[in-house]
Amino acid sequence: MTLWEVDIYAGDGHPDREGISLTADARDLGLSGTADIASVRSYLLDGDVSAEQASSIAETLLADKVVEHTVVAPVGDIQLAQSPIDGATSIHVMPKAGVMDPVAASAKQAMADAGVAIDEVRTMRKYWVTGLEPNDLSTLAGKLLANDSIEQVVVGPLEMDRLQVGSPYTYELITVPIRSLDDDALMKLSSEGQLYLTLVEMQTIKTHFEELGRDPTDIELESVAQTWSEHCSHKTLAGRIAYRDENGEQRFENMLKETIFDATVQIRERLGEDDWCVSVFKDNAGIVRFDDDYNVVFKVETHNHPSALEPYGGANTGIGGVIRDPLGTGLGAKPICNTDVFCFADPSTSHENLPPGVLHPRRVMNGVVSGVRDYGNRMGIPTVNGAVYFDDRYLGNPLVYCGNVGLIPRDKSFKEVMAGDLGVAIGGRTGRDGIHGATFSSAELTSESETLSGGAVQIGNAITEKMVLDVLLEARDQGLYTAVTDCGAGGFSSAVGEMGEDLGVVVWLEKAPLKYDGLSYTEVWISEAQERMVFSVPERNWETFRELCESEGVEATVIGQFEDTGRLHLTYHGETVGDISMEFLHDGRPPIVRDAHFDAGDIQPLDVVDDAGFSDDLLAILGSLNVASKEWVIRQYDHEVQAGSVIKPLVGVENDGPGDASVVRPVLGSNQALAISCGMNPHFGDYDPYHMAASAIDEALRNCVAVGADPSRIAILDNFCWGYTDRPETLGSLVRAALACKDVAISMGTPFISGKDSLNNEFSFFDDSGEKQTISIPPTLLISAMGQVPDAAKCVTMDLKSAGNAIYLVGKTSEELGGSHWSLVRGLSGGQVPRMDTSVAKPTFEAMYKAITSSVVRACHDLSEGGLAVAAAEMAFSGGLGIALDLSAVRLSGDVTVGGEYTVKLFSESNTRFLVEVPEDKASEFEACFEGLTLSRIGSVTNDGVCKIVDGETTLIESEITALKEAWQKPLRW
């Protein structure tokens, strides 16, 4: 046996790109010297292999001889210590044993295909570093080269002789003496065992087992903890809440059911036979009607805590996980597009200002963007819509929302497990990865989280999931199974537990295929290893199902059987290790009772005084991180695979303008389409979460409507990310947002079809003086919208099209600068936050749809961050044209600060507004669509490349579009 190392260097004349970029990044770290870094791609090969074989593998498989050269030798050999830079130290970074290493797995398979049997392969990155003091090397490794939650770092020569993973497991049944524990001991068990249950919940479990006259086994306790976790049961929001605000007190038995779900129920009742919802808040994703043959499904999830610890892996498995939701909806939907929304702290934050345990926001952003990229692109699913928000309160707790839309035949939209069906797991193998992810997501992050919960962090393997997708759709169309669900948080325990909820199930834990030896029966049960799906397969279909999977190289294993017992029965090699009733598991959780209150407070005055700085304000807002171009992110995502893309995320003459929503045609050859958009405004939440939520819905809807979606056929999703909801005021702000969701949804006739919450998004650390500091994220509600477009050829984009066309402002403008980007760039606070008037919004959206489908609109852009001025500038520079506006025709509604009218007209962020370009000969037809609504003709398109905004005789803004565009593109042009 020899452990071979293959080092792959860039060949002569070919740059070492990673080395160059790391050398540049190292300058920002504030280290003692100036580092010079060279990078090497390496592989470790463990097996009975000759030198010739190792060289041959290196040259024909691992390296590309046209552009690279290799050094191949046994680990420890002097050849491997030859640095390309004089006097450099080597730093080796490799995945910790057991961490997913997809490239190694593929390489091993390819070596076997070439007839070389290798026992184990591991990828490694090797760096040669000069110019640093020895003690700065580990700082460099920790901050730039490696993430020690998943990677192992060796500074200096590597000393290893084997790659070993796992050791044999010796079975021993573990029981937990819960009946003898007092309250303190129960809580100790809850936190030290990473169960994260409350005292009342622990007491309930204790009582249950007292009644049974025995103690639980470890696996029983874990099953309960997983099922009762916030992540799986949403117990806080679905719990009893006593809520109080300025309007008095309201009591909820089940808050979500009585607000957001109830809105959908009411809308469906009102629609009667025209109800186009199919399955809402039930399955893994919400389902609505699409055309005569298909329904469409949509789900958005978050993966915040894992992304804080390991941004690449967290985001990677976040998108991988949400793709499995549509796959596990009904009998399986085909994923047709992804969405992604991220919240980060300012990437230019200085390294010195980082609290302990926090990764630098630039590193977080880079990791998250590449994590989503590498999974989404490999799955062959276009990422078509997203947003990136910045606020320093996301420093220790970034947010990563990932969404997926799927297409499902109408007759495959429902599932039903039958007694006698086999429980079949397919896809990835089970390993120790992701243990306690479900319960971990309920815990607050601390500077210690990395050491405590590193096991909850994982790396995905997209190709395994793509293979699962391929066979799943084939098996679905052949009718081989009765139900399917994904293995997400909680692993088998959640997936199998859910599928067997109405019947009962026996699981033979030793059958689950493992990545390596050494897993206990409990680890098998709660592992959150990625890329696994569970099916219920009638026995008569098993052989066909198995052969289908095998024909495409997908592992399928019977791990249990559904049976009409009402019990969850877990065995290991014939021994019962767990046996609990489904009733206790799913209905035994004591209701959470919480207080919630919201203190609206008085509106603080905002100093709105018109001064001469309008052009500077406009440039500052365009260059603010939230508004600035996200092209660097968007282009790293394949947004056109599957060939359905009609309106792309980037639009305009240079394909780089900020489109309002993307439009995709999911069925090749048909022009029926979906518009995908989102709305989010954490800054408004600092003033009033009610208006924040309403504004987020308005924004998501108007983005969809702006490209041509039918406003009567838009389905929306809610994703709440909040701080610590045990605090009544934090929970109160969430309830208040949910109340807005209900009110707006009902008034607009826009149903919520799915949603998810992520609570306790806070980060704690001890500062230099030993004081505990906590950073809570701002209340952050993401509204995702999926609108239907009957004919994609009618869609419009936001870029100006032809000089001479008229420009209209649709909608009312009020003094609503609270939380606006104008106040953000001016460093001001206070003021009225934008409100939504649904009695105006509904007819306005309908009129806009009528105008677009009548083909009288050449361009349409919604007004959001930065208001009218920003929208006008974006339309002009995206079209490569100019715009001339006179705002004297704009009548402001409500009271306006005297002397602040221009600022309000230019930068107020009032909802339900659009700027629209209309050809002169269509003007009257366009105006007729808006009868009875607020519409002002305010100017025209010019071809002078200038954005000029006046009010009567007063020039407010006059800027070249090239300067505006540069301000907008510069900040995130990485």
């Binding site: 070919h14 790109r17 990673e18 970029s21 024909t60 498989l61 691992l62 590309d64 001889k65 046209v66 552009v67 490239v103 797995a105 593929s106 390489a107 398979q109 390819a110 295909d113 070439a114 007839g115 692109n377 490999r378 062959g380 393997n461 997209a462 190709i463 793509k466 293979m467 391929d470 024909s551 495409e552 190289g553 282009r635 790293q636 995502y637 394949d638 947004h639 056109e640 695979v641 599957q642 060939a643 893309s645 009609v646 309106i647 792309k648 980037l650 639009v651 305009g652 003459v653 394909n655 045609r665 090749l668 050859g669 994609a792 050829a793 869609c795 419009v796 870029d799 099209k801 079209g879």
Partner: protein, 258 residues
């Protein structure tokens, strides 16, 4: 033989197989998506087809290097089948990942004494990039797929698309035989000068290459993503073309057998 049969080869991680099949069907062909395992079990399956297309995606995750593992599988097990397919006067097309596979498997360009004569490696900027590019067909190329086409506007979407030859000799010889079939250009048709017109830093702006016979073509851009006018990124501004620029490639292939 009126309607040629097209084998759209898919492997784990292939993800443009559906729309590529659709493209050949739009062009009048009859296409099947066939898993690599079926071809490995029964290589003679290939003889039932006139066109073989390796579509885009990430075969085997592009682990190790883009297209490398599928390419080696073909080298190890399907070398004879592929050479017979070529020898029979049939057509082969590799799009994006398919181009990477055709190059690295030695099917598009034969190995010489020093090994593989060219490769597709990392984009100069080191990232995956989705972008529309202007392309000009080399008027000297013998390539069947590109007959009658002068310019095209198509999207690219890749991380490893930089075409590089091993040395000058290889470059000169391929250049002389018109095998550099497709080049990145500016919108006015002039030679691209760096990013973004040349999105990956490819040597001599090479976007596609064919074998000496002109019957095997590999290209980085995705013609199957521009079949109908609504797929153009600026149709709302520029109006609708009669058809997408990519369709002609598939039509040329189908009509070759008409």
């Amino acid at each position: 033989m009126a309607i040629p049969r097209v084998l759209v080869l898919r492997a784990p991680g292939t993800n443009c197989d559906h729309e590529t099949k659709f493209a050949f069907e739009q062009a009048g062909g009859s296409a099947d998506r066939v898993h690599i395992n079926r071809l490995l079990e029964n290589p003679s399956l290939a003889s039932e087809y006139q066109i073989l297309c390796i579509p885009g995606g990430f075969s085997y995750g592009d682990d190790v290097a883009a297209g490398r593992i599928l390419a080696n599988q073909m080298r190890n097990h399907l070398s004879e089948t592929m050479h017979q397919f070529k020898a029979d006067g049939k057509l082969m097309l590799g799009i994006c990942n398919g181009f990477q596979v055709l190059i690295k498997s030695g099917v598009l360009l034969d190995d010489d004494d020093s090994g593989e004569p060219a490769t597709l490696t990392w984009n100069d900027h080191g990232r995956y990039e989705d972008r529309w590019v202007y392309l000009k067909v080399n008027p000297e190329t013998p390539c069947i797929f590109l007959q009658g086409i002068e310019q095209m506007y198509l999207p690219i979407a890749h991380a490893e698309g930089k075409f590089v030859t091993r040395d000058e000799q290889v470059f000169d010889s391929l250049s002389q035989s018109g095998q550099f079939a497709l080049h990145y250009v500016n919108s006015d048709g002039s030679a691209a000068e760096g990013f973004p017109a040349n999105p990956n830093g490819a040597q001599s702006n090479i976007a596609g290459a064919c074998d000496a016979s002109g019957r095997v073509l590999g290209l980085m851009p995705h013609p199957e993503r521009f079949l109908d006018p609504l797929q153009h990124p600026r149709w709302t501004c520029e109006g609708l073309q009669d058809e997408g620029d990519g369709l002609a490639i598939f039509r040329n292939a189908v009509q070759f057998f008409a």
